[in-house]
Amino acid sequence: MSVPDPTGARFRDLRQADWERLETLIARIERGRASSLSNEDLFELPVLYRGALSSLSVARETSLDADLVGYLESLAARAYFILYGVQPPLWRRIAQFFAVAWPQAIRSLGRETGVAVAMLLIGTLAAYWMVSRDPSWFYAILPSDLAGGRGPHASAAELRATLYDPGDALAVFAAFLFTHNSQMALMCFALGFAFGVPTVLLLFYNGCILGAFLAIYVPKGLGLAAAAWLSIHGTTELFAIALAGAAGLHIGMAVAFPGRAARVDAAVSAGRTAAIAMLGVVVMLSVAGVLEGVGRQMIRADGVRAAIGGAALLGWLLYFYVLPLRTDAADG
């Protein structure tokens, strides 16, 4: 009978040093100290990783040491995620996002964006019509924390004051509006999963708020002034909400009508486009927040307000739909 050579003994002796070296390198990267690796370390990493993979294959075929196989599996998986999970540098990802991925995603959402904008408009018109006929609808539509003392029974002077006088808690109110609207946009997106039905309702309701709002200003002869007051940040913000809704609808449609693809695959590819669009929506909402926090309080002239709002809208439209695109694979 030969001398027993229980599993791994020779196998381990030959390779264990490499495994340990790989493990220390990975641990350093995982702790976020990738920059402390020298050039030799970086060249060594893929070699060591392949070594560990081949050790794993060999160990699975020839060794019965469960501990050894488990260790190699865990080591190889950790190394895999570091080697193949490498992202390009942040600045290049950001540049790529703005140059290609974002406009491309918005363009491919064209149909859904049309539906979302239509829902907003229909909501606006419906609420405008209802509140004009019966002002008590106003309180049913607008949440009291957004109404801020405005109402059908406020006098023209009071309403005018809400448009031109900076209030006491403006910064707080602006921050509140920003977070509220962002949450609203996120919800428009997330609710799309339920076949898009709640998204449509939410967009409609958003339009209703706008319509109810206008309906109390227009009869007092403040229609244009109110529109200018809204437009300075509203064009950006409402567009952002419409895009978020479009992203949600896109997912909802993919889940409801997956076509030839499996339902899950359809959801994943729709989710990808929609998520890129949503990242952009957050950017737009931040721009709207700045316009609202600074511009609306500082600038009192209707014309300037409307001009800024109009320029913003035109800028977004040009950027999304007119700007020529390089057709690299969008990746983020």
Binding site: V3, E20, L64, A66, D67, G85, Q87, A190, V264
Partner: protein
């Protein structure tokens, strides 16, 4: 026989890493931990804001309130995303419980996937929560709204239980999985190479067991529980009809392990595997 929670994950080099998916319980625990961390940060942030407020008076108060609102917003929406975009692909809670987010197609975890899975979290968790908070603050939480809210959150909370990959709705949309990633250290082999075997076994005696029993024996030897070793040694001796020396369980088991392992591994090289003692060997 693959474990039901193990999934094929083939690297570009063609090796299957056999990732193990995280269970619902572990994921809930990680999420709870993250929530506690969020809560603590928020409380610390609030206390800091209050101190500044006391220092500056009402003028600074407005600014602080605005900053607090924005801070809360950022924390709620970007805590998960920021951590999962890092090299470890995991929030603090997931790190503690040894898990990471993985792209289902085996590619790298992209930024938009992380954004998508966390935007859905808004719907799955924060929406019902804020809904309840708002309703109860208004004193409106009647039976119907409470029921609708529970039904709503129930659908999402139960979702991971009804698909075999334990995916949240967010995972489904984003194309991600949450996999366990235990960190293991290589322990010494159970039995060192021996110059000369203390015991020798016949082929028939070694043929009594297969791979499954060998790995169970490995576990027993690693645990080093004397009582278990006595029981196991007695079982093996009875089964192989051992007539040699009694007593000294540890050396006996080590020798048997080494001999059995050598035999099974040699057979593996010839393409003969024996799963367990019931298999033909």
């Amino acid at each position: 026989m693959a474990e039901p929670r193990t999934r094929q994950f083939v690297t570009p080099e063609g090796v299957d890493l056999r990732l193990e998916l995280a269970g619902v319980g572990e994921r809930a625990a990680a999420f709870l931990l993250d929530l506690i961390i969020l809560m603590l940060v928020l409380i610390a942030f609030t206390i800091a804001a209050l101190f500044v407020l006391v220092g500056t008076g009402p003028a600074g108060g407005q600014a602080m309130a605005a900053i607090w609102l924005l801070g809360f917003f950022l924390l709620r929406n970007f805590y998960f995303t920021a951590f999962e975009l890092g090299t470890r692909g995991a929030t603090i809670g997931k790190r503690v419980l040894k898990m990471r987010v993985v792209a289902r197609n085996g590619g790298r975890l992209s930024g938009h996937a992380v954004v998508a899975r966390n935007a859905m979290r808004e719907l799955e968790f924060f929406l019902p929560l804020s809904f309840f908070a708002y309703e109860s603050s208004q004193g409106l939480a009647d039976f119907a709204t409470a029921g609708a809210g529970l039904l709503w959150s129930g659908v999402f909370v139960l979702f991971p239980f009804f698909n075999r990959d334990h995916m949240r709705v967010g995972d489904l949309i984003a194309g991600t999985w949450v996999a366990r990633q235990p960190r293991r250290t290589l322990r010494a082999a159970v039995v060192e190479r021996q110059a000369a075997p203390l015991y020798s076994f016949t082929d028939a005696q070694l043929g009594a067991y297969g791979e499954f029993e060998l790995q169970k024996l490995e576990e027993v030897l690693r645990r080093g529980d004397e009582l278990a070793m006595i029981v196991v040694a007695r079982t093996i001796r009875t089964r192989i009809g051992w007539t040699g020396a009694q007593g000294d369980e540890l050396p006996f088991l080590q020798a048997y392990y080494a001999a059995l392992c050598t035999r099974l591994e040699r057979n593996m090289l010839f393409g003969q595997r024996r799963r367990d003692k019931h298999a033909q060997g």
